[in-house]
């Protein structure tokens, strides 16, 4: 190989091209992904114990599908996630707009309180929910899906502040002149909100909703404290199975959950990428316009 065709050695700041840096990256990602990858791979392995690949099978998926209590837990989880996402998106968006648009007394403490569900340890929130629902005499033994009410409420409480953060981040780049332009052209308060602000927020709304959905679907600790014997969610069910033993059946169920999460994440990232590309073109770009004067 001649000197002209060889790639030049890494420049002083091209750390990404240094061998030891690459090794660190590789090792880290192996560390992060090997367990999950193994779990996924062996959910398809036609053998209960051995490391040796014994052929592809879907029988554990079939088994998981025929496991009534697992299926019920899965249905519960999805039901809760849908209800929680809907409410969290609405509440989170309202909160984001209120905090973004208005000055009001005690705004600082209000914002701090809104951030609490995000920052406090899950265990603290879990016990708070347990105590709360036990003490106010929340009805138990309601027919499905009403019996999932307590868990759903708890999920909304920790999800909607996340939605508020995401939507508010999106609002931060909103050019207020767009809203003023709509008003100037004759739109009422409500028309300007519907025609200008909501379209602008929509990527944030979608991202927030997807976040709320995964948060709800993934939550174990807080649900663990609010669920009863007849309101088991998927993570709670997996927890009890894991305590018991590791089976390819649990692998299969986990793989399905990972797949759902992956799909949701891809959708979220794809939407983000799309809006980022559009914004890079700079259509509504001047954010601090008008602030220099007056």
């Amino acid at each position: 190989m001649s000197a002209t065709t060889r790639r030049p050695p890494p420049g002083p700041l091209e750390y990404g091209r240094r061998a030891w840096m690459r090794l660190t990256l590789l090792a880290t990602f192996v560390f992060l992904y090997a367990p999950i990858a193994t779990l996924v791979a062996f959910s398809f392995n036609d053998s209960r114990r051995n490391i040796v690949w014994r052929g592809f099978t879907l029988k554990y998926y079939e088994k998981a599908w025929n496991n009534d209590s697992l299926l019920e837990a899965f249905t519960n989880s999805l039901t809760i996630a849908f209800a929680s996402t809907l409410a969290s998106t609405v509440l989170g968006t309202l909160a984001a707009v209120a905090l973004w648009r208005f000055r009001f007394p005690f705004k600082g403490p209000h914002e701090a309180a809104m951030a609490l569900p995000i920052v406090i340890p899950e265990i603290c929130m879990g016990v708070a929910m347990l105590v709360f629902f036990a003490r106010i005499g929340w009805p138990t033994g309601l027919p499905w899906p009403l019996n999932l009410g307590a868990i759903t409420i708890a999920h909304i409480s920790f999800s909607f502040p996340f939605v508020a953060v995401v939507v508010r981040a999106r609002l931060a780049s909103f050019n207020r002149e767009l809203d003023e332009a709509a008003r100037d052209l004759g739109a009422s308060e409500w028309q300007a909100f519907r025609d200008v602000l909501v379209p602008w927020m929509s990527p944030g709304l979608v991202a927030g909703a997807l976040l709320a959905f995964t948060l709800s679907l993934d939550d174990f600790v807080i649900t663990f404290f609010t669920s009863g014997p007849d309101t088991v969610t998927f993570p709670v069910k997996v927890y009890s199975m894991v305590r018991f033993s590791v089976t390819p059946e649990v692998n299969a169920a986990s793989t399905i959950l990972i797949a759902i999460t992956l799909v949701i994440t891809s959708v979220a990232l794809w939407m983000q990428g799309r809006t980022a590309a559009r914004r890079a073109d700079g259509s509504g770009g001047v954010t601090e316009a008008g602030s220099a004067d007056g």
Partner: protein, 376 residues
């Protein structure tokens, strides 16, 4: 260059007897919290059909004043009348004015046509009429055929045209423009100045625009209000503003100026005798008798240079301290024998080499009538 515009909206031509002004601002003050007001007891009258500029440095309150006309800010005190009616408490969507925003605020999620049609749609103009008016408005700003485009497929200049069409399609009595050219690059800005002026003539309504760029204001406006720290310092036609500024701030803000501090020694019979340290006594024609300390100023291009002592009424000896070549002209920085510094601008009207040397002695003079006397 005659564009026939100085006759249309010229306040002094029409005099006090002209019809009711389209915009009347009476004692308007705007405070944001404590501290100095952003706009401080401003009085202005803008006659119909004028291209009026609000000019000033950033933070002078010009944008706040414009936003009060649009209805986005409420005056703390005073009254604004648009087309004869008091607009206090009237929300922006009900005012007979429309605005072109600094960022243009073209809705990124709507096509060009939808942007232009928006103001008609929300006020319930029927679809057929809407289509016709949108087509007309796009033609007016020469965007025919681009109606289906999205804003991110447009250049900066085209986006500005969309913003203009969108505001004009509403047929406002007054069009407000907030720094309309600041987001464009230098070449385009020059061309858009002429276009805006011609557009104003074509639609025949009043334009009020805010700018911090004196060239923009001077070259476009029929009249200019110069603002400083919330107050209007002078309202005049461009030439008056440049040649007869009424205060140090305006003289300094518009164009370049050599500004000295002096005192009036004697006044009377249309003449002033001024004493300027470093220049000595100056006798200049001046109508109003003034007294005390004054600012004495002269524009650099009025300063003449010669190798021999000129016949002018007053002249000084100075040496060239520094010079800068600008192609069309050369700027000289001179210092007199008494240590006073002043700048002169000389047109490079001859092609040959420029012969200026640092340290070379020159005679400096100007016509007494070119001296500005600034009492404020």
């Amino acid at each position: 260059m005659t564009r026939g515009r100085h006759g249309i909206g010229n306040g002094t031509d029409r005099g006090a007897a002209s019809a009711q002004p389209i915009i009347e601002i009476r004692g308007v003050t705007k405070r944001f919290g404590a501290g100095e007001p952003a706009v401080d007891s401003v009085d202005l009258e803008i006659p119909e059909g004028e291209l009026f500029a609000l000019l000033g440095p950033s933070g002078c309150g010009k944008t706040t004043l414009l936003r009060m006309l649009a209805g986005f800010e409420t005056p703390t005190a005073g009254a604004i009348r648009i087309d004869g009616s008091d607009v206090a408490g009237m929300p922006p969507n009900r005012r007979p004015v429309n605005m072109v925003f600094q960022s243009y605020a073209v809705f990124p999620h709507m096509s060009v046509s939808d942007n232009v049609a928006y103001g008609l749609r929300v006020t319930g103009v029927p679809a057929a009429e809407r289509r016709e008016r949108v087509r007309e408005a796009l033609g007016l700003v020469r965007l025919d055929g681009l109606g289906a485009r999205k804003p991110d497929q447009l250049s900066g200049g085209q986006r500005q045209r969309v913003a203009l069409a969108r505001a004009l399609v509403k047929r406002p009595r007054v069009l407000l423009l907030d720094e309309p050219l600041s987001a464009l690059d230098a070449k385009l800005r020059e061309a858009m100045r002429l276009e805006l002026v011609n557009l104003r003539i074509a639609v025949g309504i009043t334009f009020v625009f805010v700018t911090h760029d004196q060239d923009e204001a001077l070259s476009m406006a029929d009249r200019i209000a110069v603002m400083e720290r919330g107050r209007v310092r002078q309202v005049a036609e461009p030439a008056t503003l440049y040649e007869y500024p009424n205060c140090r701030f305006v003289a300094d803000f518009i164009g370049k100026v050599n500004l000295f501090e002096g005192t009036v020694r004697a006044a009377g019979s249309g003449e002033l005798t001024l004493e300027v340290p470093g220049l000595g006594a100056l006798r200049i024609p001046h109508a109003e008798p003034v007294r005390g300390a004054v600012g004495v100023a002269v524009r650099p291009e009025k300063v003449r240079l010669s190798h021999t002592r000129p016949d002018a009424q007053f002249s000084f000896e100075a040496t060239v301290e520094d010079f800068a070549y600008y192609g069309s002209e050369t700027h000289l920085f001179l210092v007199t024998d008494k240590g006073l510094r002043l700048a002169a601008t000389v047109p490079n009207s001859d092609r040959g080499p420029i012969r200026i040397e640092r340290g070379a002695p020159r005679f400096v003079s100007w016509r007494p009538g070119d001296t500005l006397v600034l009492t404020e």
